[in-house]
């Protein structure tokens, strides 16, 4: 479909003004928050980062505490003046001051790699705020020898990782929908974001 030609007051064609790139970026960043309620996913991952800082279990699964540590690269997104995305690398970069400063400015965690500890077992999983799909997960070594049993064991471990993600999100939702969220939790998160080392 042909674009409508703009005509000026003198009857001559006028070139349409190119949109402001900063506004385009901002609009894109806002719309990215709306789809799939990605904003909720980012609040979850940012809350989880803050909770994981004290090292204690986040919740219980099968009577055993679930501990989380943010390891490896992190992507933060949102709208912070002209910035809409920040990628941070480094083993425990989630806890670094540069990350916390970005969080304080409104760039929340969009994707991260987590180490999950459940009893004696350790897992790693990548999560993103839009879908909470399981990405590049590492599961404990298989114990089964026969191929059919190994497939079943691998599936079981994959389901296990998925159930841990569910448990962590459920723990977040319990806090998120409580009155304490805006009165206690968010102020505590913001204090940690702005804490000096």
């Amino acid at each position: 479909m042909a674009e409508k030609e703009l005509i000026g007051a003198d009857g001559a064609p006028v070139e349409a003004e190119a949109p402001d790139p900063e506004l385009v970026d901002r609009e894109r960043a806002v719309m990215a928050l709306v789809g799939n309620q990605t904003y909720l996913g980012r609040e979850f991952l940012s809350w989880l980062l803050w909770r994981s800082n004290d090292g204690g279990p986040i919740c219980d699964v099968d009577g055993e505490g679930l501990k989380v540590l943010f390891v490896g690269p992190l992507s933060l997104r949102g709208v912070a003046e002209e910035a809409t995305e920040l990628n941070v690398k480094g083993h425990l970069c989630g806890y670094a001051r540069v990350t916390r400063t970005a969080l304080a400015r409104g760039l929340l965690v969009h994707s991260a790699q987590l180490r999950i500890e459940h009893g004696e077992q350790h897992f790693e999983v990548g999560l993103d705020a839009s879908y909470l799909d399981v990405r590049a997960a590492k599961v404990p070594a298989l114990l089964a020898k026969e191929e059919d049993e190994r497939v079943a064991e691998r599936l079981w471990l994959a389901d296990r990782v998925a159930s841990f993600v569910d448990a962590l999100f459920a723990a977040f939702m319990a806090v998120r929908r409580s009155r304490g969220w805006s009165q206690k939790t968010v102020p505590a998160m913001r204090r940690w974001f702005t804490e000096l080392d």
Binding site: V30, V79, V151, F169
Partner: protein, 207 residues
């Protein structure tokens, strides 16, 4: 073959059953076999073939209950074969066409003319095409009633999702934050103190 070995990455879906949904291995294997993979016929004009195959043997499309049963789950794969003409060959032919067109018509070919010629070129070069095969593993946890599609590209995940919904007469809801919150009956807006009040307002307005 991610379920059997390699990277553990999958998209997660909650199953919503209809009156026609049958979750037993024998019914599922029958339905999958009806939509089983059939190789591309070199004589036909088709450029893509897709269908379900065994997890352990990607050339086998006739499935029975034993093939797909794994503990509390059902596991199988979705295979997509595409004929791909080397893009460098297509580009070369397109350049040749553009030069000949300009010499004859004293102007460069328009976008529509180039697109039409590209279709003809791809058809002509079919003999030089190579076959690209992708398989995506699928697992249906019958206890949690959850399906995992073991791929990372969203387009491919959605293609497999569509095939599963059609073949097994069910609806799949991606377990996104929105779906999870809705399942708890929650309608939560963004937190202004985390996103900034202006951004939170804009998100609420669009949402």
């Amino acid at each position: 073959m991610p379920i059997i070995s390699g990277s553990v990455s999958f998209a997660r879906f909650q199953v919503e059953r209809s009156a026609k949904t049958r979750g037993q291995a024998k019914h599922v294997s029958r339905a999958l076999s009806e939509r089983g993979f059939e190789p591309l016929d070199p004589k036909s004009e088709d450029e893509q073939a897709a269908g379900f195959v065994s997890l352990r043997d990607r050339d086998r499309a006739e499935l029975d209950a034993d093939d797909i049963s794994v503990g509390d789950s059902l596991a199988f794969a979705y295979r997509v074969d595409k004929l791909r003409v080397p893009s460098s060959a297509v580009k070369e032919e397109l350049k040749r066409f553009a030069r000949a067109f300009e010499a004859k018509n004293h102007r460069r070919p328009g976008r529509k003319e180039q697109a039409e010629e590209k279709l003809l070129i791809v058809r002509r070069l079919r003999g030089r095409a190579f076959l690209s095969t992708k398989t995506v593993d699928v697992a249906w946890n019958l206890v949690a009633d959850e399906i995992s599609i073991w791929a990372t590209g969203r387009k491919l995940v959605e293609e497999v999702q569509g095939a599963l919904e059609e073949t097994l007469h069910l609806q799949l809801r991606a377990k996104t934050p929105a779906v999870r919150a809705a399942a708890e009956g929650e309608a939560l807006g963004p937190t202004p103190a985390l996103f900034g009040p202006e951004v939170a307002r804009e998100v609420k307005r669009h949402g």
